[in-house]
Amino acid sequence: MTPEQRLRWIVKPLVFVLCLMPLAWLAWRAVTGDLGANPIEATNRFLGDWALRFLLITLTVTPATRLTGQAVFMRFRRMLGLFAFAYAVLHVSSYVGLDQFFAWAEIWADIVKRTYITVGMATLLMLIPLAATSTKGMIKRLGAARWKALHRLVYPAAIGAVVHFYMMVKADVREPLIYAGVLAVLLGYRVVAAWRRGAKPARRTV
């Protein structure tokens, strides 16, 4: 087996299954009645947590590649990003279908009146074009430069997700602050890298 084959047929499927584990765990807890007294809230929060986590994991791919020099990490970026999107869609679906049970008037009122929901909605809207343009064909059609420009939306989306979390908390903001810290490091890395690139304009990176 060539390294390429191993990546394709073993490592990637493994990572794929790994990314499904939170969902499997949620399903297991739901089936065994382990979601506590308020399973709908638990489901919604669990999915929101994992949407945010996958978004942050996706954002570690580029720094990990640069810092280790292992280009192989880049091969997982799309999959991780799509999982972030999938968990975000499931999170919003659980809000619409479980929490509100398709009470569209209430949902609309929430979106316009509750700032944290507005921010969540904006975050989702930013993720949709990213997921939609994730295929090779779309990259070709858009052209690398425009595709890259578009995909910078992932930064405000990640900020939106953390702000959304921070704003929904009643008093103990420790957890969203941890995510904010991680995000700050990931974005800070990019700022510093861009600044260095600016200082040495010859070096070109993705």
Partner: protein
Amino acid sequence: MLIRHTRPSDVKPSEITPRAVFADRRRFLATAAVAGATAVLSPLLAGPAVAGRKLDGITKSPFSTDEELTDYKSVTTYNNFYEFGAGKDDPVENSADFEPRPWTVAVEGEVAKPGVYDLDDLIRPHALEERIYRMRCVEAWSMVIPWVGVPLGDVIKRLEPTSKARFVAFDTLYDPKRMPGQQRAILDWPYREGLRMDEAMHPLTILAVGLYGEELPNQNGAPIRLVVPWKYGFKGIKSIVRISFQEAMPPTSWNIATPHEYGFYANVNPNVDHPRWSQARERRIGEFFKRETLMFNGYGEEVAHLYTGMDLAKFY
């Protein structure tokens, strides 16, 4: 308070052990265990250490609802009690070692009989009643809980507040060692709550010392907490150590934390939203569909008159 052991071998059901005697015996047992008789005594120690001591002589109340009870497990595992952590399952996990005895309550302020009362002396003169109440949390979920307690009004009458007493203030225990959630300043500890005198005297308002016929589990506010069924759950201050009668409206914890979100009155009101979510509907724990939230949590007939002429959108 009167207590009875659940294990039949321990005490005959008819025999009633005053709490002080019981506590002494427990201390003795603990000492003995340390002395080396662990094997023999540990089952005895394990018995009293868990919640579930039955309360005796509970009478029924016409104020109880006949709605389906929220199951015991949900009532005792899904709690907001930030003194033991901000997650819903934190209180049950982090309060396991909390020892709610001995317990005293300081009575202060505009009152003829101030002093530091042993919990038993505060509660025992009154008959324990079962009060099955709806409990509506400000977070838009609700339960039906069979509390055991005494009317706060009866206790207050015995303490004889002066004519100057217009409000009653309550404090939760402040002891970060025993209440680990207090080690971080999520709220301005100690937790504080208060009622207007007429709210405190209202027959629906109780001091609860139990639920489901048993002593209050730690995570539900052992050994004594307030229950005001027409108000949001956060008014039901837990593990009370101070009751103070005063002329001025007392500051309250959530109002201090976020004044535009939580007011002093905190009456359940489907028409006045929390800035971050709607209060029009609620999820009854155990149910899938949300239900309409009722004005004053369905206790309007009994309490609406307390607020006539008040703009409840302003005094939320």
